[in-house]
C-alpha cells in the first residue's frame, strides 16, 4: 500500500512538473498606487489554478522610471512585455495587439467598455480593433486634511458653497496652515496632467474641437501665475516642483505625513490614503475648484494593454478575457477602491470600513459628469504626453525665473508644434 502511494505521488509530481514545463509564461509589467498589485496577483493565482497551461509573471516597476521612462523604450526597441499596465496609452498606439481574433466573444468583450476609450487605444486607420482594457478610471481632484481645518477653526469652503475658486481654497488652507503650524497650505503633484484640470477650470482653452492646441490664453496664464505664487510665498513644498528636475514627482508623502492642508491629486490615491493614514487624521476628497472654465478635473485611468510582439497572443487574450469578466473586474474594483471603467459590472460593495474612503469615492464619482469636454479631448489627444511634459518643465523654468511667462508659453507652443511635426503629424 505504501509502495503504491509512493508511486502515485511520484507520478503526480511528474505530471505536475511536465505541466509546469509546458505552461506558457506571460510577462506583465505593472505599477502600484495602492494594493492593486496584491489583488491582481491573487486573482491571477486563481486563474492559473484553473488554467495550468498559463503562468503570468508580474514585473512590478516604479511608475515614473518604469512606466513613463523605460517601458516606451523597451516597446520601441522590440522588447515589449506581453502585457503592461500603463497610463499614457496614446503614446504606444502602434505597438498594441489586436485581441479581436483571439477572443472567444469579441463583441461582448467590447461591450464591457466605453466605446470612445476603446477607440483611443486604436492606431490611425483602425476602427474596430480591441487592444486593451481600462483597469480603472481616474479623476483628478483635491483632498483636504479636515482635522487641521477643525483644529484651526476654519470653515471648509466646500461645506457651504458649491463653487469655490482655487484662490478661496488656497486662502482657507493658508489660514489653516498658519493657525496649526502646518508646514504647507497646498501641494500639487509635479505633472502636466495634474495642472491641466485647474488650467481648464481657470478658463484655459488648450485644445479645441478640431484638436488644435493653443497654449496662450487668459486661463492658462491665470493658473500659471497662481502656481508661481504658491512657490514664491512658501505655500507649497518647493521640493516637489523645483527640486525634481525633469521628472514626474508626487506630493503624496506631504499629505500622508500631515504636512499639507490641501493636496491636488486624484481618485487613485483613495486606497493608499485608506491604508496608510488610518485614524491619524480625517481626510476627505472635495470637488474640483471652480472658475471661468467650470469645475473640472482631468479624466484618466490605467489601462492593461497587450503588445503585438507577444509570442502567445491566444494566451494573452485568455488572461484579458478573465480580467475583463464582470465578476473578476468587480472584485478587483471592490478591493482596490478604484472607479471602474466597466459598463457591465454586477452590483458590488467596496471592501472598506473607512467612511473617508467611501465618501471620497462618492465625491470622485460625482466629478465624472462635471468633466469638461476639453479635459476628455486632452486626455485622449495623441500628443498629450509631450504636451504635458513641456507644460510641467517650462512652467518650472518660469517659476524659478529662467523664463518669463510669455517665453514659457511660447516655448510650450513650440515644443508641442515640433512634437507633432516629429511624429509626422
Amino acid at each position: 500500500m505504501r509502495k503504491l502511494s509512493l508511486v502515485l505521488l511520484l507520478l503526480a509530481a511528474l505530471v505536475m512538473s511536465v505541466a509546469a514545463q509546458d505552461a506558457v509564461e506571460l510577462r506583465m509589467v505593472w505599477y502600484n498606487d495602492g494594493n492593486e498589485g496584491e489583488v491582481v496577483r491573487d486573482l491571477l493565482d486563481r486563474f492559473e489554478a484553473d488554467n495550468p497551461d498559463i503562468k503570468v509573471v508580474i514585473e512590478t516597476v516604479g511608475y515614473s522610471d518604469g512606466i513613463l521612462q523605460q517601458l516606451p523604450l523597451q516597446v520601441q526597441a522590440g522588447e515589449a512585455p506581453d502585457l503592461a499596465r500603463l497610463t499614457q496609452f496614446a503614446q504606444l498606439r502602434d505597438y498594441y495587439l489586436d485581441l479581436t481574433p483571439y477572443l472567444s466573444d469579441a463583441e461582448t468583450f467590447a461591450s464591457y467598455f466605453p466605446a470612445p476609450l476603446l477607440a483611443a487605444f486604436r492606431p490611425d486607420g483602425d476602427e474596430t480593433g480591441i487592444y486593451g482594457i481600462p483597469t480603472q478610471l481616474t479623476v483628478t481632484g483635491p483632498y483636504i486634511n479636515r482635522t487641521l481645518f477643525e483644529q484651526a477653526g476654519v470653515e471648509v469652503p466646500s461645506d457651504t458653497s458649491d463653487a469655490v475658486t482655487w484662490r478661496e481654497w488656497v486662502d482657507a488652507a493658508q489660514a489653516v496652515a498658519e493657525a496649526t503650524g502646518t508646514d504647507y497650505a497646498v501641494a500639487i503633484d509635479r505633472s502636466g496632467h495634474r495642472i491641466a484640470g485647474p488650467m481648464i477650470s481657470s478658463g484655459a482653452t488648450i485644445i479645441d474641437s478640431e484638436g488644435t492646441v493653443t497654449i496662450d490664453s487668459e486661463g492658462f496664464r491665470a493658473f500659471a501665475e497662481e502656481l508661481k505664487r504658491w512657490h514664491d510665498e512658501g505655500l507649497t513644498p518647493t521640493d516637489v516642483w523645483l527640486g525634481s528636475g525633469g521628472n514626474y514627482a508626487p506630493a503624496t508623502n506631504y499629505f500622508l505625513n500631515g504636512q499639507v492642508v490641501l493636496y491636488m491629486a486624484g481618485s487613485w490615491q483613495i486606497g493608499n490614503f485608506d491604508a496608510n493614514i488610518g485614524d491619524a487624521f480625517d481626510w476627505e476628497a472635495v470637488p474640483n475648484p471652480s472658475g471661468p472654465g467650470g469645475s473640472t478635473g482631468m479624466p484618466g485611468g490605467a489601462t492593461l494593454m497587450a503588445f503585438a510582439s507577444t509570442e502567445h497572443p491566444a494566451e494573452v487574450a485568455r488572461v484579458m478575457e478573465y480580467l475583463a469578466s464582470p465578476e473578476v473586474y468587480a472584485e478587483f474594483t471592490a478591493r482596490t477602491l478604484f472607479i471602474p471603467g466597466h459598463l457591465a459590472l454586477p452590483e458590488f460593495e467596496y471592501v472598506t470600513e473607512s467612511e473617508s474612503a467611501a465618501a471620497a469615492l462618492n465625491v470622485f464619482v460625482a466629478e465624472v459628469p462635471k468633466l469638461a469636454d476639453q479635459a476628455w479631448a486632452l486626455q485622449l489627444y495623441a500628443h498629450f504626453t509631450p504636451l504635458a511634459n513641456s507644460m510641467r518643465d517650462r512652467l518650472t523654468q518660469y517659476m524659478i525665473g529662467e523664463l518669463s511667462l510669455d517665453d514659457a508659453i511660447a516655448r510650450i507652443q513650440q515644443d508641442i508644434d515640433e512634437a507633432i511635426a516629429a511624429a509626422g503629424g
Binding site: Q69, G78, Q88, L242, G243, G245, T385, L403, A419, A422
Partner: protein
Amino acid sequence: MAEGGGIRGEYRVRRTLGDVVFNSVVDFFDGLFRPIQALIGSKRMPYVFVLPNLLVFVIFILIPMILNFSYAFTGGQQFFLADRTPVGGDNFAHLFDCGNFLDPNTCREDTFWIAMFNTVWFVVLQVGALVVVSLGTALVLNQKVKARAFFRSVFFYPVLLSPVVVALIWRWILQNDGLLNALIVAFGGERLPFLVSVGWTRFWVVFISVWSQMGFYTLILLAGLQSIPTELYEASSIDGANRWQAFRRITLPLLMPTMLVVLVLSVIRAVQSFDIVYAFSNGGPGTATTFMVQYIFNTAFMPPNQYGLAAAASLVLASILLILTLIQLRVGRQSELA
C-alpha cells in the same frame, strides 16, 4: 622523516597537477591555433590574437558610433534606423539655429545651449576644484602624519561607492526636511533651499562630484609626489629654499606630467557628467544643472523621442571632446619638450 616525506610527496602531486593543467591549456591553444597558422601563415597570426579585443571594440564602440552618425542625419520618432526618414543636416541646423549664441533664449533649441553653457561652467569649476583639492590632499597625505594609511583609505572610500548611492545619500542630507536642514533648525537657523535654489544646487553638484572623485585623483598625484627624488628637497634645503620655494621650483614642475594626466581625465569625465547629477538634481531646478549628456538622454528617451536631434547633439559633444583632448595632448608635448 615520514612527515618530511609526506610534505615532499604532496608537493610533487601539486606540481604534477599544475603541469597537467598547464600542458592541457597549451595543448588546447596549440591545437586551436596551429591549423589557423597553417592556413594564414605566421605573419598574419598577430591579427588573430587581437581579434577578441577588436570584436569588443567593433561591437561596443565602432558600430554604435556609426549608428549614432547615421541617426544624426535622420528624423522622425521611429526607433529603428531602417524606418527613419533621411533629413540631411536638418538636425544640426536645428541645434545651431540661434539669434545670438550667447543667449540661449534666442535659440530654437534653447535647452541644448543652456546645457552647453552649464557644462562649460561645471567643467571649469569642478575640474579646478578637483585638481586643487586633490593636490592639497595628496601633499598632506605625502607627509609623515599619524594614521596616514587610514586617512588615505578615508579619502579613497567615496570612489568605491556607486554614483547613484552617492547622489541619493546627499539628496537625503540636503532636501528640505533633510539632515543638514534639521541641524540648521536645531541650532536656531532657517532652512536653506539646497535643492531648489539655482545657486545652492549648482554649488552642491560641484561639491558632491569633487567629493566623490577626489580620492582617485589624490591617489594618482600621491604616486607622482612619491616619484620625486628626496635628494632634490635635501639639496634645496641646503641651498636655503623655504617650503613654498621648494614646492614651486621642485614639486610643481616635476609633478606636471602627472597633473596633465589628472587634467585630461578629469576634464573628459566632467564633460561626460551624467549619473550623479541625474540622480541628485535631475538637471533641476528648471535647467540649472542640465548638462550635455542629460540633454542628449532627455531628447532621445523622453517623449517626443527625437533620436536624430540627440544623435546630432552627441556628435557635437564628441567634437568638443576631441578638440579638448588634442589641445591637452599638444600642451603636454610642449611641456615635455620644454
